[in-house]
């Protein structure tokens, strides 16, 4: 079977800044693929290009065997890529449950007439959305907070809620931008369990993270970006000992 996601020579510039230059990577099915690098290396930009928020200046993506011709972000979600955001972007004034229910949008169909007429089909679908959202909240450990407004949740919970919302789109690839930021070591450990479980349930994960303990312990493979270029790729053990990576990113401290 082919790789789930294949990026070839992705380029992106902002004015004079080369945020991504000729970045290529292959992400296999059901693996956790880490994307690390110094601040400003272009990791988030890679996500943005992948999910259609920005248009790449060059290069191509192949996803699940077909070329990903990204015209709009929503098509990416429909194709099976869901993401979280580095600066949490929940629907702040909707409840946790509603946030996850919105995630189901792309996999459901009721339209305007369905909504107005509210036939049996629509009602069944509505129930299913509700059901699935509850299951997912439970899955990430937020079952008790379903009615809380997203913005009143503590940081860590918001991160988990973002994951639940992304999972609701039934993605093949889950792209997480620093999910452990703002979590303490213990909470990060819980997160790790969650991510492992997601992977074991068959969803591939692309993970940006600065928490080396998490990354090294969790990822199957890791790519390292620096100034928009991929400077290393490979298994955690190899990456951690790569001189260029230590120089640019890890510094003296090894997790």
């Amino acid at each position: 079977m082919s790789a789930l996601l294949e990026a070839t020579n992705i380029n992106k510039r902002f004015g004079g800044i080369e945020a991504l230059s000729a970045v290529s990577m292959r992400i296999e099915r059901a693996e956790i693929y880490g994307l690390i690098g110094p601040n400003g290396a272009g990791k988030t930009t890679f996500f943005n290009v992948l999910t259609g928020v920005y248009r790449a200046d060059g290069g191509a993506f192949t996803f699940d065997g077909t070329a990903l011709n990204v015209k709009a972000p929503h098509e990416v979600a429909a194709a099976g890529i869901a993401r979280t955001f580095q600066n949490i972007r929940l629907f702040a004034n909707m409840s946790a449950l509603e946030n996850v229910m919105v995630g189901r949008h792309v996999r459901t169909h009721a339209g305007i007439f369905g909504a107005i007429l509210r036939g049996a089909g629509t009602r069944a679908e509505e129930r299913a959305i509700h059901e699935r959202a509850r299951v997912l909240l439970d899955y990430v450990g937020l079952a008790a907070r379903g009615n809380a407004l997203a913005h009143s949740l503590p940081y860590g919970d918001q991160r988990r809620l973002e994951i639940a919302r992304a999972l609701a789109t039934a993605p093949k690839l889950l792209a997480l931008d620093e999910p452990a930021a703002g979590m303490n070591a213990t909470e990060t450990a819980t997160l790790r369990t969650l991510l492992e479980r997601i992977r074991d349930d068959g969803t591939t994960i692309l993970l940006i993270e600065h928490d080396m303990k998490l990354v090294m312990g969790l990822c199957d493979r890791i790519a390292v970006l620096d100034y928009g270029r991929k400077i290393a790729e490979g298994a955690p053990a190899a990456v951690r000992n790569d001189a260029a990576v230590i120089e640019a990113y890890l510094g003296g401290e090894l997790a």
């Binding site: 902002f14 690390i36 690098g37 110094p38 601040n39 400003g40 290396a41 988030t44 580095q86 600066n87 009143s152 949740l153 503590p154 940081y155 860590g156 919970d157 620093e178 930021a181 703002g182 979590m183 303490n184 070591a185 213990t186 909470e187 990060t188 450990a189 600065h210 080396m212 303990k213 640019a248 990113y249 890890l250 510094g251 003296g252 401290e253 997790a255």
Partner: protein, 236 residues
């Protein structure tokens, strides 16, 4: 330098901080650790005046500052590196830094301080004409710390300065914090990376759902099995 007693803060009906007491002595480095939602950010906001406490007192250099408006506390020497950085997105890096020196009247010295910040964070010097909003997460964090330093604070409050930073950068920033402290600035550090925080500070408070449950010097806290389990992620 800072004495907090009976501090109580609530959001609407929710009590986020439920009557806490703590002190920070001049020149000290103190950390406040705690799980998500424990009320750490809320506490810092109350100290800077961004939130009005429901009750309790905040004494700064012996003076109760609860009624002092936010902008005057800066002049008194209190600066905050806020959670989420709070960069001015459409000011340039340089203007952001200058805003840090807004409460000061000495533009020459402020200029020198700016060069110091650039020396500390060369990345910011590279981006000095770029607007804050387009910086990467880590770059923004550097900017936020640099900006806070620009006010020449005597009490620096930091809310999760390591969040979103690359390991190398975390080391750098913690070294910077230590350097700032060495200049005599008193520091109150809120940090999720409890290990690091406890390593550089002298004393620590542990906060749990709005209350302070533990208080000791850092060695004792690092040794405390409960702390190790809950905040250092160690399976004991």
């Amino acid at each position: 330098m800072l004495e907090v007693s009976g501090l109580r803060v609530s959001y609407g009906g929710i009590n986020a901080v439920k009557g806490i007491d703590f002190t920070v002595r001049a020149g000290e480095m103190v950390t406040l650790i705690g799980a998500n939602g424990a009320g750490k950010t809320t506490t810092l906001k109350a100290l800077t005046g961004l939130l009005r406490p429901a009750s309790g007192s905040v004494r700064y250099n012996g003076e109760d500052i609860v009624a002092v408006p936010v902008y005057q506390r800066v002049k008194m020497g209190i600066a905050l590196v806020p959670e989420g950085r709070g960069i001015f997105p459409r000011l340039t890096v340089e203007e952001n830094l200058d805003m840090g020196a807004y409460s000061r009247d000495d533009s020459v010295a402020a200029g020198a301080d700016r060069d110091r910040v650039y020396a500390l964070f060369p990345r910011l010097a590279e981006r000095r004409r770029q607007t804050g909003g387009t910086l990467s997460g880590g770059e923004q964090q550097m900017l936020a710390i640099g900006r806070a330093m620009m006010s020449r604070p005597r009490l620096l409050l930091l809310d999760e300065p390591s969040m979103g930073l690359a390991p190398l950068m975390v080391q750098k920033i913690f070294a910077t914090i230590r350097a700032i402290a060495a200049e005599g600035v008193t520091i109150l550090l809120v940090e999720q990376n409890a290990k690091l925080a406890l390593e550089i500070c002298q004393r620590g408070y542990v906060m749990e759902s709005g209350e302070i449950t533990l208080h000791d010097n850092v060695q004792a806290l690092l040794a405390n099995p409960q702390v190790r389990r809950a905040y250092l992620g160690e399976d004991l």
